[in-house]
Amino acid sequence: VSELRYEELRGEQVAYAIHRQERTFLPTREHCPLDPTRPGGEQTEIPFPAFEIAVFDNRFPAFEAPHGAAEVVVYTDNHDGSLGTLAPERAEALMWVWRHRYMELGAREDVEYVFIFENRGVEVGVTLHHPHGQIYGYPFLPPIPARELAADERLGGCAPCKLLGDELADGRRVLIETDAIVAYVPYAARWAYEAHVIMREHRASLLDCEPGELRALASVLQTLVRGYDALFERPFPYVMAVHQAPTGGSCGERASAAAALPPARGGHLHIEFYPPLRTAEKLKYLAGSEQGAGTFISDTLPEESAAALREAIASAN
């Protein structure tokens, strides 16, 4: 059972889940707990010989009912591959799975914020290589989505809508454009190859998306991940963070002070990628300035990263 302690100096929660020390750590391929259970073989987390997408309660949860949730989302029964190499139909189905989990977990009274994410690569702490992501149902609103809501207030409307408009007007950092989705390296990227994937229309969450938008979202995510892998010709580690509207009573329409921006509805669906690589061999570490002062120091200009990523995306797709 996890324990929450409030850190007064920073005004944020810290979760203690000491049972997670015992979680499975980089098992050999033969003992992967996310593989299907083969006839006569070792029982895994999924007791079936084949499956498409599986979601289950994390055996080592950071949060659990009645104080939140922690789930594992297994993208495929194939041990190899990645989000980028899934069949397009499977990637599209994954968007519907995310939507279903957002809807179901978001309806729970003990969940204030549904956070879908993927950690890829040992560089970001992955303990299982099988293609998968996770979902946390936080019993409180975490600091980053809270800051995004504060940005809405500060700008007098939907901050992601404004930033998207700025990026399209500038154009130098745009990576991918479709009718429904835009991907770009943000103007003030923290990570060398940070990218944001955002809905063109104001969609507070996956629940607001049309089927065609979900299909487009899957396609753009795959295009970006394949581009990442082509950039340094190696599997590209990242943290992928799906930002949506909080579900704990903040989803209602909120009045906008500025008519120029769409009214904020407590969020605008966008997906942020934080890759730790700054070159093919070098990692960006969060050190003194980042950890002690909260200010990122970057070695790379976002415009240059975007140009390199555009080239990699073109070569990989």
């Binding site: 987390e45 999924i46 007791p47 079936f48 499956f51 498409e52 997408i53 599986a54 979601v55 289950f56 309660d57 055996r59 139909e89 499977r90 599209e92 189905a93 519907w96 799975v97 939507r99 279903h100 957002y102 809807m103 179901e104 978001g106 309806a107 729970r108 629940l207 607001d208 998306c209 049309e210 089927p211 979900l214 579900t247 989803c251």
Partner: protein, 66 residues
């Protein structure tokens, strides 16, 4: 799209999730205690409960209609 109005675009998260499927007394029945299938858009959902009581959901994309 699914036929459930709560699953329509723009619909807020609504409705409590259904209660978990009762755990089978005989582990050999594991494969047979799935609920009646639910749907979310093009995916069908099967609910299971693992031997230790944890939830397991299997999602299967329905084949494209010709």
């Amino acid at each position: 799209m699914g036929s459930n109005p709560a699953d329509a675009p723009g619909a807020p998260p609504s409705g409590d999730p259904p209660p978990p499927t009762p755990r089978p007394s005989d582990p050999s029945q594991r494969d047979r205690h799935a609920r009646v299938q639910e749907r979310c858009g093009p995916v069908a959902i099967e609910r299971h409960v693992k031997d230790d009581g944890r939830s397991l959901l299997l999602y299967t994309r329905e084949a494209e209609q010709a």
